[in-house]
Symmetry: C2
Subunit: 278 residues, 2 copies
Amino acid sequence: MLTLTPLKDIPLIRQGNDLADVIVNALHTTAIQLQDGDILVLAQKIVSKAEGRMVNLETVTPSQKALELAEVTEKDPRVIELILQESNEILRARPGAIIVEHKLGFVCANAGIDHSNVSPVGSNDLSRSKATLTPLEAGAGEVNATHNPEDWVLLLPKNPDCSAATIRQKVEAATGATIGLLIIDSHGRAWRNGTVGAAIGISGLPGLVDLRGQPDLFDFHLRITQVGAADELAAAASLVMGQAAEGTPVVHVRGFPYPLREGRLNELLRPKDQDLFR
Amino acid sequence: MLTLTPLKDIPLIRQGNDLADVIVNALHTTAIQLQDGDILVLAQKIVSKAEGRMVNLETVTPSQKALELAEVTEKDPRVIELILQESNEILRARPGAIIVEHKLGFVCANAGIDHSNVSPVGSNDLSRSKATLTPLEAGAGEVNATHNPEDWVLLLPKNPDCSAATIRQKVEAATGATIGLLIIDSHGRAWRNGTVGAAIGISGLPGLVDLRGQPDLFDFHLRITQVGAADELAAAASLVMGQAAEGTPVVHVRGFPYPLREGRLNELLRPKDQDLFR
């Protein structure tokens, strides 16, 4: 049996929060005692927030390329500028849609930049001083904090595998359990409507499970040889998190059917030269 | 909390088996009493087997086009012939890979034709007479049953939405519970390695959940508006079924977070003219 339980009472996460602390407290509130082999799944958004990946669009000066792409896609040129900075390559740009290969290696829309649930009106987040604003890696305009929450966006974590490993180590140290930790985002797909949860950071569980050479029930060799196990778990956890009110960004998983091991996002990423659909 | 429980002691399924009966018995064995809102997830393979979608390759005469594609893809021309018959369009053909738009509307490898776990050596299946062989829809060669299990393949169900509705109605009639029923297969993906579970037949649950217009925590409108909920559930159930020994082809789900409604596969299929990646 596989069980997925959203942790209760996760507070709004702000830059500098210790997510391991938050999770250990929420496990207690939810009356879950971690066991060896359990997995925690975190929404990307709280990891990005804790790491201070918010950017105020008033600080962004779009490049010429961003202005051109903004015209094609009918999007805010400042957001496009951030998308360009976060991406290796633009794969498709159409009105309303921009699909990229993110610097982290995966293909996604808008470089995973998020415009919802970022800055709460009237909350402490609005008191963020210029000094606490995340400096952009390149091309940032002058820093000019604004109180318009519509102007804030959230970039993906800089190194989600590393974020996952760090949080996992702290949770393991606090609980004594050997666990896996997965960071997920919602991705659109080629060919099919709707987003599904997808892994973007992995620590302590397999990304891909290789069944090659295993016999099936009748001792044939299996046609399906590699399972995107971390993505299947990401989709399952995404279902539990829901998408609207970001109330349950951490999900506890018990009963993952494959042995835990060190894993990384890169297992799940098809090299461009082996991809028939780019 | 979302729980996914594989049903115990599902027997090997043969043509003509009543899957609703099999499931009701297995629910009993697993000590699960169905409740309103529960969902059953079935592996495509047992539905196809019950519907007699096995084909003996000795009965298949490859067309000229199949022979040409077999050379490109280095696959059995008889299998290619079946793939052509099952597909609307070939999207990509490379050594080892043939990606199609299936007649059912979705994009998948090999038209979903399965070569594993099909015919048990020494089982009753080998006594199937010519009369019980599924006639091919077109281009079938002469029917010539063989005892070599390597020569049997399994096509997808003819109308998985309809199969799902039929099985669901029978299970509902036997148990009194109002449920959803999902038929899934394992699909490869653009851009990412590994297969994940994907919906191919839906009855009584949403394929797509539309969150457009719903406020997020801070009353912004959501950027992510449509969730591929049935695909997320398919991935979750696929994780529980595993891939190797086809021992657990039915999974019971409790705690699906969205309201059940009539749904269909078509919700999840992006029309070709709106697809940037074909």
